[in-house]
Amino acid sequence: MHIPDGYLSPQTYIPLYGASIAVWGIALKKIKEELSAKHVPYLAMAAAFSFLVQMFNIPVPGGTTGHAVGAGIIALLLGPWTAVIAVSVVLIIQAFVFGDGGITAIGANCFNMAIVMPFVAYWTFNLIKGFSQNRVRILVAAFLSGYVGLAAAAFCAAFMFGIQPVIASGPDGMPLYAPYPLSIAIPAMAIEHLFLFSIVEGVMTVALLKYFLKNESTLIYAMREASREEA
């Protein structure tokens, strides 16, 4: 889902840079309010984890590959604003050092994987969990939070790819950037994510939430008092 350089037109990637920079500003302010110096090791671990989990490419036999992102579980454990920064840091390193995702597309990729994904995941978790303390319901909420979060990110990326032929074509009608229309981009990205990559993300989110419920349940941001929920 790392959009490379050359696939998005400037009229797409420039506004998305603006949007991401604005959200980073808010996120840093929120982290300052919500977390303290004792959370710093967990923040570092969250970024390291997201970097590593994205290295595990999952194959669709004979087809494409994809991977989990980890933004959902980070949002549940440390809050969605922390996930914004942790995953953005990872995406910027990937683009500059490893050529994974374009330099021009950093704003777009951060928007999809570091903003849309953690927030959709966090909201999904709260929506399903409600005020329930029922363990099964919490674990179902965790699965869906990872599943829906990654699917939403993939949908946004597919949308960005798919509008390029419409908004950026040459005088001869040939696409100048990403060549495939929405009618191809959305199903292609939706199917592989809904049937494989998002399931992996969901299972991983449940497994990790279970681990933290057992070992350090006070850390879990999404399980703190209800007053936190409007975040």
Partner: protein
């Protein structure tokens, strides 16, 4: 460092060492790469042409460790595996450095 923190770092270390599964499995199953992340050659094959502006900007940045691989495009699997593990550790170190710098700025008034 707390016991849980130590344990979590250990798990991250294990993940880094196992990361080459992320290149070995796709190769075993004949999976090519992510949708929408084709290089110029692959696009030429898929479409029969390469969109004009895409071609101009696709190589705008020369990443120092392109594709988590030190060996270049034709590198043998063992080179790619070693590169991948080294890349994983470089990623961890860079992520920690940047997070520590940000945290310093955010929490400078706390001890």
């Amino acid at each position: 460092m707390k016991r849980l923190e130590k344990k979590l770092w250990l798990w991250l270390f294990v993940m880094a060492v196992l990361s080459p599964l992320g290149i070995i499995l796709p190769e075993k199953f004949g999976a090519e790469g992510a949708w929408g992340e084709w290089g110029v050659d692959a696009l030429e094959k898929l479409l029969g042409y390469v969109p004009v502006c895409l071609k101009k900007t696709v190589d705008i940045w020369a990443a120092p460790i392109r594709n988590y691989n030190f060996g270049g495009e034709g590198a043998i699997l063992s080179t790619r595996i070693v590169s991948y593990i080294v890349s994983a550790f470089i990623g961890i170190v860079l992520a920690c450095i940047i997070i520590l710098i940000i945290s310093r700025l955010l929490f400078k008034h706390e001890k």
